[in-house]
C-alpha cells in the first residue's frame, strides 16, 4: 500500500504577543516542533504498513527548516520525504495552501491512502485536509478515531461525532484525518534516526508543479484576507456575590443560563 502522510512544522508554543502600537505579531525566537496531531497520523500509517506492507511518504510545506519534521518522521519509521517550498507560496490561506499541497502530491505520484492530523496547533482550522481531498477528487473522512478493518480496496473507520460514532467504509484512494484517540504515537528511534541521516528529501518548488499559474498560489490565490489582528478582550473582571442562600442560588441559575448550560 502506498501511504502519504501530510505533516507540518508549528511553533513550539502558542504564546505570542501583539505589538500594541503596530498591531503586529511578535514572534521572534520561537522554536519549532512537529504539529502534535501529525504524530497520530504517522503512527496510523506505521500500523497500517505493519499489517499490509507498503511505503510511507511524508510531505510538508514550508521553509527549508521544516525539513526537520521530515527527519523526525524518518526516525519514527517513514520511508520517503518531500517538502514543498517556494517564496511564491507565501501568504497562502486554506484554499491556496490546500491547492499547493495537492499539486505537490500529484508531483509525487499516486497514493492509496493519505493521512492527516486532525488539525494543526497554529492554524487550528482542521480545513486543509478536506480541501486537499477535494482538489484530488477523492473521498475523505475527518475525525477518525479508530481503524476497524483494512481491505484491499477499502478501509472501514470510525468517525467521532461528539455524541455518536459513525462507522463508514471508504474506498481507496481516500484521505483520512485522524484524532488523538486513534493510537499512541511511538517515540523516534535513535537507530532509525542514524540510518536515515543521509536519506534524500525531495524538494518541490513552484517550477516543479504542473499548474504554473501564479494566481493560484500564495497571497494571490487566497480568497480570505486577514484585515487586522488584535489582542482579545480579557474578561478577568471578578464579581463578588453576597446575599442569602436563595438570592445566590437564583443569581447562579441566571449565570448558568447566560453560559448556555440551562
Amino acid at each position: 500500500m502506498n501511504i502519504l502522510v501530510c505533516i507540518k512544522q508549528v511553533p513550539e508554543t502558542n504564546k505570542v504577543e501583539v505589538d500594541p502600537v503596530t498591531g503586529v505579531l511578535k514572534r521572534n525566537g520561537v522554536s519549532s516542533k512537529m504539529n502534535p496531531y501529525d504524530l497520530y497520523a504517522i503512527e496510523t500509517a506505521l500500523r497500517i504498513r505493519e499489517e499490509k506492507g507498503g511505503t510511507i511518504t511524508v510531505i510538508t510545506m514550508g521553509p527549508n527548516q521544516a525539513m526537520s519534521v521530515i527527519r523526525e518522521a524518518f526516525s519514527m519509521g517513514a520511508d520517503k520525504g518531500a517538502i514543498i517550498s517556494d517564496r511564491k507560496f507565501g501568504g497562502a490561506d486554506v484554499l491556496a495552501t490546500s491547492y499547493t499541497i495537492s499539486q505537490g502530491i500529484k508531483k509525487l505520484g499516486q497514493f492509496d491512502l493519505i493521512l492527516c492530523g486532525k488539525q494543526t496547533t497554529d492554524g487550528d482550522t482542521a480545513q486543509v485536509g478536506p480541501e486537499v481531498a477535494e482538489w484530488l477528487q477523492i473521498p475523505s473522512v475527518s475525525n477518525v478515531c479508530r481503524i476497524k478493518e483494512i481491505h484491499d480496496d477499502s478501509i472501514i473507520v470510525e468517525m467521532d461525532m461528539t455524541e455518536d460514532i459513525e462507522i463508514a467504509k471508504v474506498a481507496f484512494p481516500c484521505l483520512l484525518s485522524v484524532g488523538k484517540d486513534i493510537f499512541t504515537p511511538r517515540l523516534p528511534s535513535f537507530l532509525k534516526k542514524q540510518a536515515s541521516k543521509e536519506r534524500e528529501i525531495t524538494v518541490i518548488a513552484f517550477d516543479d508543479l504542473e499548474d504554473k499559474n501564479e494566481k493560484h498560489y500564495g497571497l494571490n490565490g487566497s480568497p480570505t484576507q486577514v484585515q487586522r489582528i488584535f489582542p482579545p478582550e480579557v474578561n478577568s473582571e471578578q464579581v463578588i456575590w453576597k446575599g442569602n442562600g436563595l438570592e445566590l442560588a437564583n443569581r447562579l441559575y441566571d449565570k448558568l443560563e447566560e453560559l448556555k448550560l440551562v
Binding site: 504564546k15 505579531l25 480545513q127 461525532m161 486577514v226 464579581v239 456575590w241 445566590l248
Partner: protein, 396 residues
C-alpha cells in the same frame, strides 16, 4: 501579480533589516538580502524597513459584482432529521446579519425522509428553506453532500453561508469552499456584516491569544463555520413563517465512495479531563452522603463530579476524580467549586478553566483570587435552591 520586491541599494544595515521579519523569511546570501519560503507576505519589512528597501507591488484584480449574490444561508446540521442546536444559533445570527443589508435568510437541508422533519424550521423566521430529500442522502457522505451544496449555491447564489463547526460541518464546509474556489473562515466567534455585503469574520488565532479579523473581499459566497454555543438561538415562534422549497438534483451527483455502515451512540465520557462542566467537592462538604447533592448538580448540568485532595484521601471519592498537581489537570468550559479553599496545588490543576465559579463561606479564601464569580456563602444554603430551579426548568 502581487509581489514583494527587495531593493538592495536601499538597505544600509543588512542584519538590522533581516531582524525585522518575525518569521525568519529574510536571509543574507552573498552580501544580498533574499526572501525565502517562510515569507507570509505580512509586509512588515515594507512598513518597518528603510524606505524603498522592500516594496509591495499590488496588482489590481478585477472586482466581482457582489450585487449578484443575495441572502444569508445556514446549513441545517442533523442526524436522521434530529436538528443540531447549533443550527438554530446560526439562524439567529443569519437573521441579524441579513437585516443589516436587507437580504433574505435561507436554510439548506439535505437528507432522506425530510418532508415532515424540515417543518420545524418554519418556526424560526427563515424566508426560504431549501430541502434536498433523497434516499442517497440518508447519512452524511462527503461526495453527494458536497454536490448538493454546490447545486444550492449555484442556483440560489447566497452572499454568505454559515455552517456549524460540528464533525460534519468541519469537513463539509471546506470541501464545498474548495469546490467553489472561495474563502472559508473556521470557528468564528464574532460575525458582522458591512454595507457592501462583506462578512466580517473574527476568530481566535494562535491558541486564542490573538483575535484575527478576516474578510473575503472578492469572492462569493463567503463561508464561515461557528462552534456550538457561541451565538444565541432565537426564540421558537408558535406561528409558522417562510416557505419550504423541495429541490431536485440529477442522480449522477449522488454517487459516493463512502458507505455509512452504522451510527452508534457514544458511551458517556467518564473522565473529568473530558468534561465541559465540572462540579468540585471540597472540604466544605461535611458528610460523605452530601456528595450525592453535588453529583446531582453535575448531572443536571451535563457535567462530571470532581474533588480536591482531602476528599480523595478520605476515600469519599475516587482518586481519578481528584484535581490538582497530585491529581488531574482540567480545562473545562465551566467549573463550580463548592467549599474549596483553593490551595496552590489545587489551583494549578484548574486555573485554565474558561469560567470559574467559586462558592465558599470564607471571603478571604484563596480560591476567590482565581474565580470569575465569587459566591460568598454556604454551599448548603445555595446548592439545594439551585438544584430546585434547574429541575423545574427541565420539567417545563
Amino acid at each position: 501579480m502581487a509581489k514583494l520586491i527587495i531593493n538592495q541599494s536601499k538597505i544600509d544595515n543588512i542584519k538590522e533589516f533581516i531582524s525585522i521579519c518575525p518569521f525568519g523569511a529574510l536571509e543574507e546570501a552573498a552580501g544580498e538580502v533574499r526572501v525565502n519560503a517562510a515569507c507570509k507576505m505580512c509586509k512588515l519589512c515594507v512598513k518597518k524597513g528603510p524606505e524603498g528597501a522592500a516594496t509591495y507591488l499590488e496588482e489590481k484584480v478585477e472586482a466581482i459584482d457582489k450585487s449578484l449574490w443575495k441572502g444569508i444561508a445556514v446549513y441545517v446540521d442533523h442526524i436522521d432529521g434530529e436538528i443540531h442546536p447549533v443550527t438554530y444559533e446560526l439562524i439567529g445570527k443569519a437573521r441579524e446579519l441579513a437585516k443589516k443589508i436587507n437580504h433574505p435568510v435561507y436554510a439548506i437541508m439535505m437528507g432522506s425522509n425530510m418532508k415532515d422533519k424540515c417543518k420545524e424550521l418554519l418556526h424560526y423566521g427563515i424566508d426560504k428553506i431549501f430541502v434536498y430529500d433523497f434516499k442517497e442522502l440518508d447519512r452524511f457522505k462527503i461526495e453527494p453532500y458536497t454536490a448538493v451544496f454546490k447545486d444550492f449555491i449555484e442556483n440560489i447564489k447566497p452572499t454568505a453561508i454559515l455552517v456549524g463547526a460540528t464533525t460534519v460541518g468541519r469537513q463539509l464546509a471546506p470541501r464545498v469552499a474548495a469546490r467553489l474556489r472561495t474563502g472559508l473562515t473556521a470557528d468564528c466567534t464574532i460575525l458582522d456584516m458591512s454595507e457592501d455585503t462583506d462578512l466580517i469574520q473574527i476568530r481566535p488565532a494562535f491558541g486564542g491569544n490573538i483575535m484575527a479579523q478576516i474578510l473575503t473581499p472578492n469572492h462569493r459566497p463567503q463561508m464561515a463555520t461557528v462552534r456550538y454555543k457561541i451565538m444565541d438561538a432565537p426564540k421558537r415562534e408558535s406561528e409558522e413563517s417562510g416557505e419550504i422549497v423541495f429541490c431536485n438534483i440529477a442522480s449522477e451527483h449522488l454517487k459516493t465512495n463512502v458507505e455509512v455502515l452504522d451510527i452508534i451512540k457514544k458511551e458517556k465520557e467518564q473522565f473529568i479531563e473530558g468534561a465541559d462542566v465540572l462540579v468540585v467537592a471540597g472540604r466544605g462538604v461535611k458528610k460523605e452522603e452530601d456528595i450525592a447533592m453535588l453529583s446531582e448538580l453535575a448531572d443536571l448540568l451535563g457535567g462530571q463530579l470532581a474533588c480536591t485532595r482531602p476528599m480523595a484521601e478520605a476515600g469519599w471519592m475516587e482518586a481519578k476524580r481528584q484535581i490538582g498537581l497530585s491529581g488531574r489537570t482540567v480545562r473545562p468550559k465551566l467549573i463550580i467549586t463548592c467549599g474549596v479553599s483553593g490551595a496552590i496545588q489545587f489551583v494549578a490543576g484548574m486555573n485554565h478553566s474558561e469560567h470559574i465559579i467559586a462558592i465558599n463561606k470564607d471571603e478571604k479564601a484563596p480560591i476567590f483570587k482565581v474565580a470569575n464569580d465569587c459566591l460568598v456563602g454556604d454551599l448548603y444554603d445555595i446548592i439545594p435552591g439551585l438544584i430546585e430551579k434547574l429541575k423545574a426548568s427541565k420539567g417545563a
